[in-house]
């Protein structure tokens, strides 16, 4: 059985497993596969980061990934994606998120992959707890409003430039 296309997990992420799962789901010809791995950086805003501890509202995060996939199907018909996100402690250099996009041609696969990471950052109910040299802090980014058209347009713009 292949891995789920959308998942929140404390396991180390595998692009191979995610790619297999997206390929299994994909209907129609595949001519391009793109992927994105987000890694934990050793530095953030001048702080020396020790590690990140991720928290998620798991059922809604998985639904959020699925919703982003639906948006992508509308924007780039024939493109499919998969998203796996870590929770718990993630050390420097490890992947916190893996995204795979498939489509018939490369342009849509690149665009879908970029759009997916922008949308995850906008709406997925996931939080980074940064542990750095001297303390710890919850990182707060975007207010999660999936129906905010402005945010969707911004993500689309970034995906297509």
């Amino acid at each position: 059985m292949s891995a789920a296309r959308f998942a929140v997990t404390s396991d180390v992420l595998s692009l191979d497993a995610l790619t297999k799962s997206v390929m299994t789901h994909h209907a129609g010809p595949v001519g391009a596969v793109t992927s994105f791995l987000g890694l934990v950086r050793a530095e953030n805003l001048g702080r020396v980061v020790s590690y990140l501890d991720y928290e998620a509202y798991e059922p809604l995060a998985v639904k959020g990934f699925s919703r982003i996939a639906d948006e992508i199907s509308e924007l780039w018909p024939g493109a499919s994606i998969g998203v796996h996100h870590r929770v718990g402690r993630v050390d420097i250099g490890q992947a916190s998120i893996a995204i795979v996009a498939t489509s018939a041609h490369r342009a849509d696969a690149f665009a879908a992959c970029r759009y997916a990471i922008e949308r995850v950052k906008q709406i997925a109910p996931i939080w980074k707890h940064e542990h750095f040299d001297g303390g710890d802090v919850w990182i707060e980014g975007a207010t999660a409003e999936p129906d905010d058209e402005g945010a969707r347009l911004e993500a689309r713009k970034r995906a297509c430039t």
């Binding site: 998620a56 990471i117 950052k121």
Partner: protein
């Protein structure tokens, strides 16, 4: 009515618990539940403009009316990826 409230990240730290139980009047909205919490935990009040809500693990507007037994969640600004 009785609801369960899920809290995450900084909101969880402020409340000192990931989950709370609250009794609310009939026809209460998510915003009403939020007002209760902001009253109990004044440090949450500054999040009023940036918090978003979920009802039974679905994204929800803050003006949505809730039902007895619902699981309400309040999401501080997200930072996944």
């Amino acid at each position: 009515m009785h609801v369960t409230v899920r809290l995450f990240a900084r909101l969880k730290d402020i409340a000192g618990a990931p989950e709370l139980e609250r009794d609310v009047p009939a026809d209460a909205t998510l915003a009403d539940v939020w007002a209760l919490l902001a009253h109990d935990f004044p440090a949450m009040a500054p999040y009023r403009g940036s918090v978003s809500g979920a009802r039974n693990a679905e994204y929800s507007r803050m003006d949505a009316v809730i039902a007895d037994g619902d699981e309400i969640a309040f999401l501080p600004p997200v930072s996944g990826g």
